[in-house]
Each structure stands twice: as C-alpha cells, then as structure tokens.
C-alpha cells in the first residue's frame, strides 16, 4: 500500500519551516501568501488523503531508532479526527496571525516555528505507535517553546522556562510508561483495546498501573491537569495566535490525544477499568475541572481567564476518557473537536481586543462591544457555546460526557455530573460577565477611552466568524460526526 504519502504532510511543513529560517528572502520577510499557501496546501493534502481513503492501511515507517523502536505513521479513525481538526484550523489560524503579527519583531522565525509546529502536530496525530507519539511530543515542546518566548520579556522568559521544564519532566515520566508498554505489552503499536490483552506476564499488575499513572501525568503536563497545570496560565503572555492555536488546540489537545492513545490504544480500557489507577486519575481530572472553572472566575486578566477555562475544558475531554468505556471515548472526541473551535474563537476574540484596543484586563473592556461588535458577538457566541447552551455544540459534547458518566454509574458518574454542572455555571459567569461589560457598560463609565477602536481587519474576522458558524452548525447537525466517532470506538 502506498502509505508513504502519509509522511509528506508531516515532513513538508517541518522542512518548509526550517527552510524559512535558513533562507533569507529578499524582502526580509516572507510574503504572507507564501506561508499561507504552504499551510493550505498541506491541509488540502491531508484532507485529500483522508477523504479518498488513501489513509487506511498498514502505515508508513519513517525509520527505525532501534529494533524495537520504529517511527511510523498510520491513520486510523482516532487519528483522522485529530488530523482533520488540526489541518482545518491551521490555515485559519495562520491567516489570523498575519494581522496580529504585522507589527511584531522576529516575524520570520515566528512563522517558521508556527509552520513547523503544524508538521509536528500532524506527526502526533498520525503516529502509529507510542514511540512515534513520544518523539513528536518532545519535538512539539521544542518547537513551541520559542514561540512562547517570542516577546523576550521577562515574563515570557519565565513562562517559556516553566513550560520547558514541566514538559520535559512530563515527557520523561511518559517515557517510563512507554518503556513498560514496550517490554511487557505485545507491541507499542496502537491497537484499540490495548496491548496487555493476554494479561502481562512477569510483572506485578500494580507496577504496570503505577506506570500508567506516571505516563498519564507525564502526558498530562501538556493537557494541563492538576498538579502540573501551572505553565498554562503563565504561557498566556505569548502572542495570541500562539496561545490560541497552540495552547487551546495543538499543545493541550496533543496532551489529551496522547492520553487517549495511552489509555485506549496502549494500555487498554478494560485493563484499567475499576483499578486504583482508574479512580486516581478520575479524581485528579475532576479536581482539575473544579480548579480551572473556579480560578477562571477569580482571574481578571482576560487571556489568563481563558487559559484557566482551557484547563477546565481539556479535563472535560479527560473526564470522558476516564470513563474507560466506548461511550466515554466518543464523548472525549466530541469535546476535543468542539472545544477546539469554541476555545479558539474565544482566544481569537480576546486577541483581537488586545491587538486593537490594547486592553488586557477584564475591567478595561467596558463598552467595547459597541466599537467591536462583530468581535464581541463572536466572543459571546463562544461563551454561550462553552457554557453548554443548546443549540450550540458545547451542549452536545457535554451531553455525551454525561451519558457516558451515567452508564458508568456509581460515585464516579454522579460526581462527574455534579462537577460538570458546577463548571457550566462558573463558565456562564466568567464568560458572560465580559459580554455584559462590553455591551452594558455602567452608566458612569468613561467611554471616550474607546474612541478609535474598531473591529479588526478581515484576516482576523473571517476566521472568527467561520468558527462561530462551525460550532453552531455542529451543535445542530452533529449526527454525522457522532456516527463516525461511534464507529471508531
């Protein structure tokens, strides 16, 4: 099977990115259309592969590190979901980034790294075994941390260092889990149902479970679970295209995706169900949801608030995962996809506000809704969607999670539901209070500060509107996606 084609979408952006850094163009900066073209081309390639079914098959081996460790790509159902999502969002995010970065420094290296990240994320999405996933996971850290560092201010440096240390620590822990799967499982290839089918011989199950927990938290660093979540709010200092795409979509979703692969495709849900590892991870996931939602309400820095919201929402995905059932997996994927759109819309709106009006704090946003109506309308829509109001997509994904929780039953199920609803209430508060400020400024606020502010240009608005349309339509017309997901699981 001509599976080699799978390698192209991964390597092409990476090579293009490296080339962009090495080769200095005449005009000092690459034309935005060139960059956008590369990204778009890659996305089209990916979607073509997926839609024409070229992707199905045994996968393509890139190279082998040792006899046991081979780097190989394979596009199975789960991979297709994440790949499709990433490749749909990247061109839009790059478009948004152009206007944002128009006046920034180091533009060339920024876009070079941004494009490389695309390739690396696809590498994670299309990884066919745990080793490949791990390798691209480490590479993701490497290519994204300079993006966090971009502004070179002291906070940026601190944040990037924190991100780096947490990520590497997490990867080291995940590596141990990987080694165990390698030695005691039959293979590191991703197989639905896990590779410990025959019951692992020669080792105490508890040790395997401990390694699972270690790997869970190791990969969980990127997914920002308590207690390794501190880097995410700190990383809000990065430019918005970085925080939005990376920390709402690529990085945190990679973390969640890695955990999905670890749980369902390496260790196997049946192996883990009802063990102490199951309960421990579920407990931390639920704590994270509570923590994220509550801190978001208290936080007054706009982007940091959204960062806490991300922490909480990614743990919704993980909540689906820790149900250890097919329904849970469907729910996890649903929220993975929907949340990506909703959160990226929120972050982009916030970014537009920061870019046009230079306001970073929530209390500075009074009355801006009238100057930037489209932006804030999109923001409100994303807020309602995140809250779980029908008919937006957020309701469907929450529904699925709850259904999965209910069929699990027991304390786990009940706690999950209560926590989800508490979080929904908190989401309503922290998202909509911004909307209220923007559109209903108190009578005595001075609004002259808002003069001269206007909606951003089309490069920023078009992605925003597209996202809103997507998560609205998906809320109503989710059936095809859900069916597809159910088939996978």
């Amino acid at each position: 099977m001509m599976q080699g084609i799978l390698i192209i979408p991964v390597l092409f952006p990476i090579i293009a990115g490296i080339a962009m850094i090495i080769i200095k163009p005449k005009a000092k900066v690459y034309s935005p259309w060139f960059i956008e073209g590369i990204v778009l081309l890659n996305s089209i390639l990916v979607w073509t592969i997926m839609l024409t079914g070229m992707g199905r098959g045994d996968g393509a081996v890139l190279f082998k590190l040792t006899y046991d460790l081979s780097i190989y790509f394979r596009l199975d159902g789960a991979g297709m979901v994440f790949t499709g999502l990433v490749s749909f969002l990247w061109p839009l995010a790059t478009l948004y980034a152009f206007e944002y970065m128009e006046h920034g420094e180091h533009i060339r290296s920024f876009f070079s790294l941004y494009t490389m990240t695309y390739g690396v994320t696809l590498g994670i999405a299309m990884a066919g075994n745990l080793v490949t996933l791990y390798m691209f996971y480490e590479m993701l850290t490497l290519v994204t941390f300079p993006l966090v560092l971009h502004d070179r201010t002291r906070e940026a440096r601190r944040a990037s260092r924190m991100y780096l240390y947490y990520s590497i620590g997490g990867a080291a822990c995940a590596f141990m889990g990987l080694v165990f799967v390698l030695v005691y499982g039959s293979t590191t290839d991703f197989t639905l149902g896990g590779v410990f089918g025959g019951g692992a011989q020669g080792v105490d199950h508890n040790i395997l479970l401990a390694m699972y927990v270690l790997a869970f938290f190791g990969f969980g660093v990127k997914a920002a679970i308590v207690p390794v979540q501190k880097w995410l709010p700190a990383a809000s200092v990065a430019p918005t295209p970085v925080t939005a795409l990376l920390h709402a979509v690529a990085v945190v979703k990679s973390g969640a995706f890695a955990i999905i692969r670890l749980t369902y495709y390496s260790y196997g849900a049946d192996f883990l169900r009802d063990t102490w590892a199951h309960y421990l991870t579920a407990a931390f996931v639920m704590i994270t949801i509570l923590y994220g939602s509550t801190m978001a309400v208290k936080e007054i820095h706009f982007k940091k608030r959204l960062a806490y919201s991300t922490i909480s929402n990614v743990s919704y995905i993980l909540l689906g995962v820790v149900m250890m059932s097919p329904a849970g997996l469907v729910a996890a994927f649903t929220h993975l996809v929907f949340h990506a759109f909703m959160k990226i819309c929120s972050f982009f709106s916030a970014g537009a506000v920061m870019h046009r009006a230079d306001r970073n704090y929530v209390y500075e946003l009074d009355g801006l809704g009238y100057k930037m109506p489209i932006t804030f309308a999109c923001y409100t829509a994303s807020g309602l969607a995140l809250m779980g109001m029908p008919p937006f997509a957020g309701f469907i994904s929450k529904w699925n999670i709850v259904q999965a929780a209910l069929s699990e039953g027991g304390i786990l199920g009940t706690c999950a539901i209560v926590i989800l609803l508490y979080s929904a209430l908190m989401t309503a508060i922290y998202m909509l209070s911004v909307t209220v400020r923007a559109f209903f400024p108190a009578k005595d606020t001075v609004l002259t500060a808002n003069d001269g502010v206007s909606d951003p240009g089309w490069k920023m608005l078009v992605p925003l509107v597209i996202f809103v349309i997507v998560f609205t339509v998906m809320g109503i017309y989710a059936k095809p996606l859900i069916q597809f997901l159910e088939e996978i699981c």
């Binding site: 590190l65 040792t66 460790l69 560092l149 780096l164 240390y165 590497i168 165990f180 390698l182």
Partner: protein, 503 residues
Amino acid sequence: MDFLRNLPFFSIMLAMFTGIISSAVNGRTARRLTLTMVTAVLVMSALTLSYTEQIGESVTYLMGHFPAPWGNEIRFGTLEAFLALYFSIIMLLSVLGGWSHVITDIEAGKENLFYVLIDMMMSSLLAMIYTNDLFTGYVFVEINTIAACGMIMIRQNGHGIVAAIRYMVMSLIGSGLFLIGISLLYDVTGHLLMVPAHNAIEQIVTDGIYYTPLLVIIVLISVGMAIKSGLYPFHSWIPETYGYATPTASAILSSLVSKGYIILLIKIFYRVIGFNIVISSHVLNALFAFGVIAMIMGSLHAIMQTDCRKMIAFSSVAQIGYIYMGIGLGTKAGMVAAVFHLLTHAATKSLLFISAVGLYEVSDGRTDYLGLRNAAYRNRVAGIAFSVGALSMVGFPMLSGFISKYLFATAALEKPHKMLITLVALIISTVLNAIYFLRQVVTIYSGRPGEAASTSHFIKEAIAESTFSNRFASIALILLNLFLGLFSEAVIDLISRGLNLFA
C-alpha cells in the same frame, strides 16, 4: 590477513614513538605529527575491527617471546577494536576543535610538549583497551595520569596549577589503591596475566578459601578506578580540571580519560575476576548506589553554577554516574547500556566543550551564563552544536542520549529491586539536565529584546576569531551524535557481541 593481527601493537607503538619524536620538534610539526598519528591509529583500528568481525572471536597476541603465563599479552576482540576506533575519532576531533586555543593558551616553545602529552595519552588509552596483563595495565594507568596532569597544567595559570595538583593527588590515591589491589591479586593468584589469573580465581572460589581477600581486592580495584574516573563522592577534582584546562584538554579529559579507566575496570571485572563473582560480592550494589547519587548530585551542582564550563564539568559527574549505575545493575543489558552511554558521553561531552568554546570566542572570552546572551546568533554553528549536545543530554529522541536512556530503562526492568530507583533517578535526572542545559540554550538564543542588534559591532570581529577547525569539529561531532541516535542497532549489536568475547 594475519598481518592485521599486529595492528593493535603497532598503534600503541606508533603513538609512543610519535610522542618521543614530538619532544624534539617545534609546535606546528608536533601538531601535524599528532594528527597524522591519530588518523593512522584510526585507520588501523578500523582495519582491526573489520578483521575481528570477520573472524568472530578475540585474538590474543603475544608480546615478546615468552608465552603465557610468564610473558605479556595483548588481546583484542570486536569491542576493543571498536573502542579504539571510536576514541581515536574523538581524539582527532577534539584536537581539531581546540587547535586555535592551544596556540593562544600555551607558551610559545612549549606547544610541542602538549602534543607529546596527547600522544602519550593516546598510547596509554590504547594500551588500557588492549592489554591482557594487569601490571602493564597499571603502568599505562600511571602514564595516563601523568599525561593528563601535564595537559591540565600546561596552561600555567593559577587555576590550572591548583587543578593539576588536586588532580594529581586524587588520581595517585586512586592509582595507589589500584596497585595494592593488583598486588593482593598477584599474591593470591600468582599470576599477572589476566586469563591465568582468572582461572586461579575460579579455583579459589570453588575451594572456598581467601574469601575476604578476594572481596578486598575487588573493593580496592573498584574504588581505585572510581576515584580516577570521578565517581561521586570522588569527583571534586572534576569541575576545576575540566573547567580551566584548554578546550582540547577538557574535551579529551572528560571524554576519554575517565572512560579509559572505566573500560579497564570492566575488563578486570569480566576477564579477571569473573562477573558472577563480582555480582555476589555486592560491590556492584555500592557502585549502583553511588552512580545514582552522582546522577542527581552532579546535576544539582550544575544547576547552581553560573560559569558555563563548570556547569558542563558537573554534568560530566552526573553522566559518569549513569555509567556506573548501568554497571551496578549487574546484568548484561545493564553493561551494554553502560558501554553505550560511555560512547554517547564521549561524543556529547566533546561536542559540548568544543561548541562552548566556539561561543566563548564570540562573547569576548566571557564564559559566564549572562555573558553568553545571544551568542548563538554570533556563531551559528556553535549555537546549533551546543543545542544538539544539550538536547542529547536531556534525552531527546533521534539523538544518542535518548537511546542511552532507553537502554538504561529497559535494562532496569530486568531487576525489580533496582528498577524503581533507576527509573525515578532517570526521570529526575532528565528534568535536572533540562533545567541547566536548556536554560543555557535559551540564554544563548535570546538576550533582552532588541539586544541582538546592539552587539553587532563586535560580531564581525568575533566571527573571524572562531575558526574553521572548531566549526568542522562541531559539525562532525553532531553527526556522530546523530549516528548513534539513529543507527544505534549496529552499535548495540557490536557492543553485545564484543562483551561476549570480552570475558
């Protein structure tokens, strides 16, 4: 091709001979001689390797006309040949990398002495790898020590001399212990050649006599070598030594010298005492424990350093710890991991020292953490090389450090008792490594915003200073690292087979 059997002997002799000649010629000629010699050794080792691969067993080579057990012997198999090849590559690249500094650091007129020392060191390394006789081993250990001391001291500044004296003291203590151990061994077995000595020991063990002396022998030899290779807590000489020597010297010392002693130790464990006996004496557990402690303490100390050179030196302490941890696991897999890490570390540490020098050159000679801001933009090759070295230390996939980590982890799984400690130590060590190495990488790539432009005024001068040879060496070492990272199976296989033949 029996002629090839002579090659190891030739290489040792050639190295010594070159040393003798170099003492009489001037610096430039000496340098050229050294480079030629090392290249020749490289070729010879390559040939030897292919020869041993072909015949698939190790060859014992008589030195002189007296057969065993009275005469002297050299023995070489796949592993020895490969190690010789590898070390000569590293030696070559280290010399190339630090060449311009040799000129500036050393008094004119004394340059040739430096190359003499290098030649001596090469010969003693080769001898330690190839020897099959204990006393010969000891002799060359001493030659190695003296050569190393000379190399440290040759810079003749205050730090250098203090460091050299410290090194001398510690090293001689180590040699002394080693000597006592060998004497006891001779006493107990009546042999100095390794294989007969081994037979005698086996006899002793089955007879059940001399139990305590045997234990003492093992301890003395281990401690002696441990001191000389810088295992915690005998590491105090390392930071000053590696830190203040001229770059070539630092590279050679950290990459090769300590490794030579470790190889000798492994050889004695396998060939003289017998690995099973060593395991049952529990000495390995002590080595394991100290190895783990070294891993963590070395890194912790490194984090606290502000001077880049000392930071890299402390990192060496940690890495030696890894190797001893691997040995201490007491399994074949552990030993393979240890030897592989030996190779990795040799390549990576040289890479780090050489590229770091490239960075200091363009930063007005400053070596402290802050002084190196934005250095990577001034010397691109050095920046990339340093980053690759750092990433390899952290264990990034595709680089050799990852394979090392992987081998250690899988080896640890075979030993449930030591497994947990090993894994935890690996994880903590990775994070600690990340902290100080990647901190440095970040610094060399970023200064204050907008600072890069302001330093442009001395960029042009600075770049001119960084030499071609330095860059060449850096790139070559990067490639070596990548080779180990990507094509490690061949190497691991080789090590495995070699270890089988070692005993």
